[in-house]
């Protein structure tokens, strides 16, 4: 923590935590309609770019005959001309399940277009996919040994070939090399050895430079730091600080686009127990910073996750940490919400029901058995009144039936998920533009009329561990937060 004076009292409370890109949850989960067909889509993004993404799609009913995948840019040049699509493979055991693989050739905001043909005709949907390299691979020992031996053979072979060329290359047939020629050959071999070593050195340096370039590409997509400053006792100002020199040149906070009604979705989670959550929406101020007057807040260290979507449709999560004093603050307003309760225990104590302040409950309709990492799941929650009946007073919360945040205990995983999945809603809107048919319904909860008491979130835990799931819904004008803990194997 460090202090800085700005005006009356300014507290800079930033200790940036570096976590994995997109906060450890790179795979894309999506649920939506391709025309008349309901699809649940999982896109496993490759670790390196260009690389092959795995795509798995489950159709809602068994009326899909064929499915095709194609990758395109989300917006701008390259977003209109599709390559030849790949035909998905239909499972013989489970006809509703389709799989395929797709090359992602670029980093950045891409989309996977899924075209469906079946009993109800044709349908199409585009799923936004943030494509980015996540790591570099080290060479394993057997391969290192094989390549090392081959390189040694080539290096030594070149030296001996040079020696043979001088010693015998232009001798008359049958003539034996004279001692002087042999001496000259040895000298040439020594010079060649030095040249070969020089070539190997330069080659290694080039390799290092290429690896460095790639590493910069990986760093570029790591979460930028959220630099938080508290001004005037309760005004929180957040600035993005680049992890890479190029980042701030290419991603400008002045140009981020609205994502379900707000430019930034800010989550403050008190650590280490995650016993406080604030879901806030700061306004953009001059210089690309975001600021807001905080509501009442307990003192402590808070983890910052700030979601924005850049103009190309690529979602970024700014990550940081801030120490806050006790703040009386202003009352919550608009879409802002907060929750406080008991901390996450280790190991997490799982419960499938959460009691709301009015006596109602949110029930997690989870399947029996332990939760598994890397398994696509529809996390379904049913809202009940205090007398156990399905709640009839649910409303849209920022245009959707609900919001859920999946957070691992060590803050290495954070995902802000909607009924449409882990995709950013702003990117989803961009992805559907240019489609032949009307954009699909992305949430049952968006339909007009009475809303279902159930809300579901397609997602998969990327890593084992203890997680806390915050489920946020709106009932009778009041934003409610339900909290569920989960142990993931």
């Amino acid at each position: 923590m460090r202090l800085r004076v700005m005006g009356v009292l300014t507290l800079v409370l930033c200790a940036v935590a570096t976590v994995d890109a997109h906060v450890g949850s790179p795979d894309v989960y999506f649920e939506g309609d391709a025309g008349p067909y309901r699809l649940f889509v999982t896109v496993r993004v490759p670790q390196v770019i260009p690389g092959v993404a795995e795509i798995r799609v489950r159709s809602g009913k068994g009326d899909v005959r064929t499915m095709q995948f194609v990758s395109m840019r989300l917006s701008g040049p390259g977003s209109n001309l599709p390559p030849t699509p790949d035909l998905a493979q239909q499972s013989k055991d489970d006809p509703q399940f389709f799989t395929g693989s797709l090359w992602l050739m670029e980093s950045g905001a891409l989309r996977v277009r899924i075209q469906v043909d079946g009993a109800k005709g044709k349908g199409e949907v585009s799923v936004p996919v943030p494509s980015f390299a996540q790591r570099t691979l080290t060479m394993d020992k057997p391969l290192k040994l094989i390549l090392g031996l081959l390189m040694l053979f080539l290096a030594v072979g070149m030296v001996f070939i040079a020696g043979a060329a001088v010693r015998e290359g232009n001798l008359k047939p049958g003539e034996t090399p004279a001692p002087a020629r042999k001496r000259r050959a040895k000298m040439v071999m020594a010079i060649t050895a030095v040249v070969v070593l020089g070539i190997l050195y330069l080659g290694r340096a080039w390799w290092g430079a290429e690896a460095g370039n790639y590493e910069r590409g990986v760093n570029f997509f790591k979460p930028p730091a959220a630099e938080a400053t508290l001004e005037n006792g309760n005004r929180l100002v957040i600035r993005a600080r680049d992890q890479d020199k190029e980042w701030s040149k290419q991603v400008k906070m002045e140009e981020v686009i609205p994502d379900h009604n707000h430019l930034m979705h800010l989550f403050l989670i008190r650590v280490p127990g995650m016993d406080r959550l604030l879901h806030l929406h700061p306004e953009r101020i001059a210089g690309g910073a975001f600021a807001m007057d905080l509501p009442a807040i307990s003192a402590g260290t808070y983890q910052i996750f700030a979601d924005v979507v850049d103009k190309a449709g690529f979602p970024w999560t700014l990550v940081g940490e801030v120490n806050l004093p006790q703040i009386e603050g202003k009352p919550l307003a608009g879409d802002d919400a907060s929750w406080s309760g008991s901390p996450l225990t280790k190991p997490a104590e799982e419960a499938s029901a959460f009691l709301l302040p009015d006596g109602g409950r949110i029930i997690w309709q989870r399947a029996s058995g332990p939760l598994q990492a890397n398994t696509a799941t529809n996390f379904t929650f049913r809202v009940e009144t205090k007398d156990g009946k399905p709640a009839q007073d649910l409303e849209l919360y920022m245009g959707m039936a609900g919001h859920a945040e999946f957070v691992r205990s060590d803050m290495k995983v954070f995902a802000h998920v909607h009924p449409a999945g882990s995709v950013a809603m702003a990117a989803l809107e961009l992805a559907q533009s240019g489609m032949l048919e009307a954009p699909p319904t992305i949430s049952d909860g968006m339909a007009m009329g009475a809303m279902s008491p159930e809300v579901s979130f397609p997602y998969g835990f990327p890593l084992p561990g203890d997680y806390r799931i915050f489920v946020q819904i709106k009932r009778a004008g009041q934003i409610e937060t339900g909290v569920f803990d989960a142990r993931v194997q």
Partner: protein, 398 residues
Amino acid sequence: MGHSIPVGTQLGVGVGERTAARADATSIPWTIWCMVAGIASGMVGGLWDISWHMSIGRDTFWTPAHIAIQMTGVLVGIACGYLILNATFGGESTERDTSVEIWGFRGPLGAFIAVWGCVAMLTSAPFDNWWHNAYGLDVKIVSPPHTLLSLGSFAIKVGALALIAGLMNRGSEALRGRLMWLFAYVGATAVAQMGLILTQATWPVYLHSASCYLAVAIAIPPVLVGTAWGAPSKWACTRVAGIYTAILLGAEWILPLFPAEPKLGPVYQHVTHFIPLRFPLLFIVPAVVLDLLWNQRGEWKRWRLAAVTGAAFVVSFVVVQWPFASFLMSPAARNRIFGMAYFGYFDPAGYLYDPYAFVASEKTRVTFWLTMACAVLAAMVTSRLGLAWGDWMRRMRR
């Protein structure tokens, strides 16, 4: 006036020697045909593969283009393996007498060089595969594993040239005349390979940049001058450059006749057929100039000759390529002949850059002329290397 060493007479090669070593041979050995076929296969495969990546994108180990490239290693391996095993374990003393010894094995020097090239190509495969896994699929021509592959492929050509040169230097006049065309052909494929490596530096938008000519001056003279100077012909350089031009023109005019469409995205250009590389660089003009120069002043000392050769190469190349580049940028070149309307599916031409506007790599006039001066100096040095290589091949007998 011929070269310093009269055309048709190789350095230090006497009639009696040729007689001693199968000088009466009048037919080209099958091993030479096998190597040349392998090199041709690699050339076709290489151009096809680049076009494949520009038009279709996705490939596997077993695409026809890859198989054509891999056939280089197979055919060259068979030919050179036979030559080495025959000279090492065979009963014929002639083969042993015209061989060199490395690690207890005997064989023609060219065969050993070509085998080295095959091993380099073989090594590049797992290296390239790992590279893709570690850093993603590299869609560029010049990367460390691709360079190792290219080095191996180039070594095969150097080996073939050495093998043919040795045979020419020992063979009859009639045989030498026929081998000359194979020698020029292999030299042309070596020039084409260097040209492919320079693809990015010599893309049409850079043809009014001095750095483009500097890159050409570094890479082309060692190969063009070397293979031409090593050949016993008055018009060797013209032959080499002519065959290079014919190979690239053939690729440019034939490949688009076949349908293709991208299988990878994002797609920036609508592609319906194979997309070739660009119109060949006009090396034919400096080649004619060099032949004329060498036929007049071939007896000069090597450094003096190299200095004039380098300067003549750069000046004559710039004089024709510069205005021709202006023509290539004009609408008149956007046709099947000159190919300036062809763009790979991944090329954001027209979106992110103007493909018909020159890019100035040098920001000031001073930088431009300094770079041009460097190009002339570089060409002098690399021409000297080429002359040395040519002389070496003229003396090659094993």
